[in-house]
Symmetry: C2
């Protein structure tokens, strides 16, 4: 088996986390219609962690189907506030609107990871983080969105905790790697178990 | 009042966290004999969070005494395993010895911050994080210490979670910024309250 893990996601943050942990990664993003899947599963009243898991699974399965000899990691993250699932914003007005909806409230992030080996699912995990956003001013929102620029569109909720995004929050309860989009410690434990990382 | 916060610590990680959050920072490290203070307070059976707080306070007071017109942040972090306080390792053998002591066990990090204004303490906070280290092999320890090099000596316990250090842990329970050495979200909330950061 190749020692290189295939990451079925185009997330730079996920690639960076794995590389920083010493994992050799090749990115082969799976293009799936995430919004349609979320809408369909929400309509069926699927559990939130099951929706995140289903999205991660779809990405992993898509790439594993094309490369059955490889070890493939699919990952996804969903943001939920008051029962509503948020997508990545695609414009500055949409990012502002999302941040206003999240302002002064708690929300949850579910980060799912699914690993395929030899074309079959062999491991999965979903983590949950609870974030409390402060009641920031409209002036701060302007400052924030101007500073973030295109980074607004790379994460659900439009925030980046490792930069000015820390000013949005009163508390973060849960694993930091999961905030960034991957339950890294659990993934690494699995990779060590199958000999991909040093024990 | 100057809008620039004085950081009474030489920690690059703390400076970086504050700067990333948009806080203007000037570093004026306070040189105190941390090991002697820890030993003295431990001998008096002081509470762990009180020891971290006392160290942060000493740094802030030292610099605030020299610059009474400035806003000064003192910060410190202590690592405790089985009731024993660990210091930053100063050599590779010491770092290896510490990591072997922590291997396969839980330990706690206490991160304290104390702010002085007009030469008086005006705010303080101590956070607690619980870390569980896995039972890694001696081979991994060699790989790890070789990869970290001088970074081994910049943190208590000799680990760096943002790089290969993630491979040391099974779980991290608590705030990530506190793992890096500063309860950042709480510090920012105080700074917004006194008008140093935008509300």
């Amino acid at each position: 088996m190749s020692k290189t893990l295939v990451l079925a996601s185009q997330s730079e943050a996920r690639r960076q986390m794995l590389q920083n942990a010493g994992v050799e990664v090749e990115c082969l993003p799976a293009r799936i219609d995430e919004a349609a899947v979320k809408a369909a599963l929400s309509a069926q009243k699927a559990k939130l962690r099951d929706i995140a898991d289903a999205l991660a699974e779809m990405k992993a399965r898509r790439i594993a189907g094309k490369h059955p000899d490889r070890l493939v990691l699919g990952a996804d993250q969903i943001l939920v506030c008051n029962g509503e699932i948020f997508d990545k914003p695609t414009s500055e007005p949409e990012a502002k609107s999302q941040l206003k909806d999240l302002r002064g409230r708690k929300h949850e992030l579910y980060s799912a990871a699914v690993i395929y080996n030899h074309g079959q699912p062999v491991w999965r995990f979903v983590s949950r983080v609870e974030m409390t956003m402060r009641d920031f001013s409209d002036d701060f929102l302007e400052t924030y969105t101007s500073a973030l620029k295109d980074d607004l569109f790379t994460t659900v909720g439009g925030y980046k905790l490792e930069s000015l995004g820390s000013q949005l929050f009163l508390s973060v309860k849960g694993d930091y790697f999961s905030v960034l989009g991957l339950p890294l410690l659990e993934v690494l434990e699995f990779l060590r178990g199958i000999g991909i990382c040093q024990k």
